[in-house]
Subunit: 335 residues, 2 copies
Amino acid sequence: MRNNITLKELAKLLNVSVSTVSKALNDSPEISQKTIERVKELAALHKYRPNPVAVNLKSSKSGTIGVIIPNISNSFFAKVLSGIEAKAQQEGLQVITYISNESLPREKEIAELLTSGIVDGVLVAISEETQRKKEYDHLINLVEYNIPLVLYDRTNLDIPVDKIGVDDEKSLEEATALLLSKGVKKIGLATSIHHLGLGKLRIAGYKKALRNEDDFLIANSSRIEVLREKTEKLLLEDKVDALVCTDFESTMLSYRIAHENSIKIPQDLKIIGFLGKELATHLSPSISYIEQFPEKIGSKGMELLVKRIKGYTETGQTTEKIIQTELVHLESTVF
Amino acid sequence: MRNNITLKELAKLLNVSVSTVSKALNDSPEISQKTIERVKELAALHKYRPNPVAVNLKSSKSGTIGVIIPNISNSFFAKVLSGIEAKAQQEGLQVITYISNESLPREKEIAELLTSGIVDGVLVAISEETQRKKEYDHLINLVEYNIPLVLYDRTNLDIPVDKIGVDDEKSLEEATALLLSKGVKKIGLATSIHHLGLGKLRIAGYKKALRNEDDFLIANSSRIEVLREKTEKLLLEDKVDALVCTDFESTMLSYRIAHENSIKIPQDLKIIGFLGKELATHLSPSISYIEQFPEKIGSKGMELLVKRIKGYTETGQTTEKIIQTELVHLESTVF
DNA sequence: CTGAAAGCGCTTACAG
DNA sequence: CTGAAAGCGCTTACAG
């Protein structure tokens, strides 16, 4: 049953004033070396730690940043959080996590909460619903409250804040182009996220690489059974030689359908998908995937935010960073 | 460029004292209905929100709880966090996330940080290194600082705090027993976590079900290549009819080895593994798995913590809860 | 029913 | 070099 000692108590023990103790602990040049030493010694002895809440009240800084995550069970976001956390630790900042569960109302609630000054800055990946309904007032509101804001991953919305994203279009364009360069003729695309901004960009990349509209072979549905039918058609009727998949669901489904129909990967079918490294490498055969470096997105996003908080960035000027993706070749694209 | 209005400013605008405003907003019976209405109206107009930092300083509560997570990329922990978050939201609490990366030094740092009273309570799953070295002083220290502490998931250590865990031994015992009851003869076990408390318990469950030592067929190694060799031996030489796997790594590896050697699942080999639902159902064939209900662990853990914080639990008395696991049958155990 | 005062634990401009 | 005082934004026992 221990209690944290306060400045006041320390001062009493030392027979000096609270101000002197405070200054000594902060290495103020106003205080003599001797006093500084005396104070620090006793402070260490009693394991004094400044009450962060009181410090925050004085400085009107909370020393914490808020992170809004659409879905933490998505390993992409879990890794982004990991990157954010690591950087925060370096900076001596705390991370408060908010999970929006892809819900706009929840996101609004969170944003509302954050206007009370509970955090010094916010990192947001907007929810699916927010993307669909294009309602950004709650985010703009944060900016008006002078709360530094950085958008990560889901950045294709037009509000003037710092952004850190992935070049989603380019990622699938390059993947598709690579298959073409290897002489693959029929390349299909499977997607369960065509209705999201993210999915649209990835599909656009695929189309850009193929150029000719007649070559587009797309299976799209957010309903798994429909997507299954469409993908089966691609594999069995159109007999595609390769499939690029825009997300976990479509990647795993394609893999499953191939297996069920004894279509051999990579001999009969190449696959490139979006999966985390652990999963992609552990599948059999392993699946070539597009690495997005989520930890890097987290840490770079945090960097942008810290600059903003410290006022290094000019107001009225925003930065947009793109983390380049990388196609990782595994067994599913062996030629 | 908006700024949060303070009680003082509100008081000036209303020509009443700060105390009156404060009491009115808190529906104090000391204040007349008329004044309460006037105050609330203006507060709403100016979107007044109490500065949480100041409130915390008065109440010496931070309104936040800390969660120490060994590894957020592990989807089990991500889901636990999700459960914690959901419950925290109900309780109006903030969640500060700390990732220990399975490191004891980092865990100590975090614990040290938390003694400053930055949080009202802590949920901890200890790191692997902490488990191995059995160093718990930093946790005991938290208790001595009167910071309510709840251990989740990794709970087999002897310190007197509330715990919320999984019955790891029973989970594999039941899984193994089920296979036996279906007439499966040779049941092997693959594990990459035999050196961890968790792994030991799961292995103990397997042994308990089999009873006879001569029947134990175990492939264990934390080095993937060694585990591969041992598991191959189990499959190709010992010709086991079923494999129970204690973790992601061993489950995926077994699956992969079976595939490489054209061993048909479930015809030639049944598999029961530890995987998240999404992955287990999306594999082809899908893998029967042991559901641990991580969200429930999170929310129940949070419940224990909240009770402790509110002082509903008697000091000196600790609760230990176990969340029952459930074997989910998918294609890999079709008979 | 309303307000002045003290105080939560700290920092800092100012005086001595 | 040290200390008294004011103040960060709030709450609450006490007086009127």
